[in-house]
Amino acid sequence: MDWVWTHLDLISSETLAHIGLSVPPIVIGFLVSIPLGYWASRSAVARSVLLTIGNVLYTIPALALVVLVPVVLGLSLLNPGNVVVALTLYAVAIMVRSAADAFASVSADVRQSATALGYSAAQRFFRVELPLAGPVLLAGIRVVSVSTISLVTIGALVGIPSLGSFFTDGFQRAFLLEAAVGFVLVLVLAAVFDVLLTVLGRVLLPWNRGLRPTAAARRVIAQQLPPIGAR
């Protein structure tokens, strides 16, 4: 354990780097998926096209994507932006389906009722449909968060520092403690993010408090736990 105490600086800097690489894909992925998911929930054609693109994106191996992105965008191979772009694509791939399900879960009765009351289209979206899609959106973003935090480690293979660097370094030097530290910290980070998102959900969706997740939300959680081991 001495290694841990002598390397606290490194551990904290790699943890910060890991967070820095994780947050942008989660946030951008969420924001991009909202309009796409809404579109997919309104049109069967849009839904099938967008979800197919999402599925195809999701099947590209992460390592291949991290190498492809700089080639396509003309960035340096060591630019952390590569990881951010690649993981944003994955986030969108997962989140569009959640968002489409989320908006589809808003009951037609409530939408019509809001229209009948005199909500304009924009008011209806922001004040009725978006909040009511909240529980399923939350379920989706929790999956994205866990998935992103674990995938950030891939960057270590192409030399972009994160907690994943402890894996690569630990394995190369056959120093299992270092790899284990990386492993545990990734798990802790994923758990912390999940708790933060859950708390945020409770604050933003007070009407949903104490209620069990809706059937739609449970389906999203069940379907979309990403096959991390498969990659």
Binding site: Q112, S113, A116, L117, G118, S120, Q123
Partner: protein
């Protein structure tokens, strides 16, 4: 606030014609009930009044003004709307649901909430429910909140789309009486859609019986329709044909009150000795309750 339909037709994009050449004048400050089986276009007609549906041809006038020229969002805010399953916003509290439209039109939040509490009193709900979410209320309570919300901007016109269709008969009865009481004091122009002819006869000053495609089978007061069904369809629809409405005095009855039975021989009700002169098809509340009981007995 009279509403006039002039040769209105509606064909939906998928080719179904919901309404064809419909003309009707809905008088001000009275209740008009559109009644018919599902698919007769009654909900489409109702939704044309607040431009949820725009007619394919023809025009609709409110106090002589063609509503096609009124922007839909503003028009809807000025018209109360109550729907089946209440249509309450599940993420807003009861008070906020009632205050929804006033807040949309810029009434300060605080004032809108205070008004909402007064409206809860008006529809017979405990103010303690104001902070609850709709899912925490019973079906009947939700419908009352729906009615309170419909009245929140004190609209001249109130549209009601099968508002009591999804609650049990006892609660429905309460809600109907409550609506009659409210309408007695408020005098709105109410357009009410239902498939229940008893509800139509109970609530309507004017009843419009619709056939497929929004064709009017008969328009009149409940009294006129019961006394003179315009055709076989109407007679069948109001139950006259099956003998549900045609009652006779049961000879075996003893004592002061007179027992009434329908054509099938079911006991339908009792005519109090005091009211023995009452005409059965009249519009007094007694005869209505007789016809209600008739229907239940016939269904039994």
């Amino acid at each position: 606030m009279s509403i006039e339909f002039r040769h209105v037709s509606k064909t939906f994009p998928d080719g179904t014609t919901a309404v064809e050449d419909f003309s009707l004048t809905i008088p001000s400050r009275e209740t008009t009930v559109l009644v018919g089986s599902s698919g007769c276009g009654k909900t489409t007609l109702l939704r044309m009044i607040n431009r949820m549906v725009d007619p394919s041809s023809g025009s609709i006038l409110i106090d002589g003004k063609d509503i096609a020229e009124i922007p839909p969002v503003g028009l809807r805010r000025s018209i109360g709307y109550v729907m089946q399953n209440s249509g309450l916003l599940p993420h807003r509290t009861v008070a906020d649901n009632v205050a929804t439209v006033p807040m949309l039109t810029g009434v300060p939040k605080r004032k809108a909430r205070e008004d909402a509490l007064a409206l809860l009193d008006r529809v017979g709900l405990d103010r303690a429910l104001a902070g609850r979410y709709p899912s925490q209320l019973s079906g009947g309570q939700q419908q009352r909140v729906g009615v309170a919300r419909g009245l929140a901007v004190d609209p001249n016109i109130l549209l009601m789309d099968e508002p009591f269709g999804a609650v049990d008969p006892i609660v429905r009865d309460e809600l109907q009486q409550e609506l009659l009481r409210l309408q007695g004091t408020l005098g709105k122009t109410v357009v009410f859609v239902t498939h229940d002819i008893d509800e139509a006869f109970l609530l309507g000053n004017q009843v419009v019986i619709l056939q497929r495609g929004g064709r009017i089978a008969q328009v009149g007061t409940p009294k006129e329709i019961l006394a003179n069904p315009a055709n076989e369809f109407v007679a069948d629809f109001i139950g006259a044909k099956r003998g549900k409405r045609r009652l006779r005095i049961d000879e075996t009855g003893r004592g002061e009150d007179v027992l009434l039975v329908d054509a099938a021989g079911y006991a339908a009700g009792v005519l109090s000795a005091d009211d023995a002169r009452l005409v059965l098809t009249g519009s007094g509340p007694k005869s209505r309750s007789v016809s209600n009981k008739t229907d239940q007995a016939g269904d039994a």
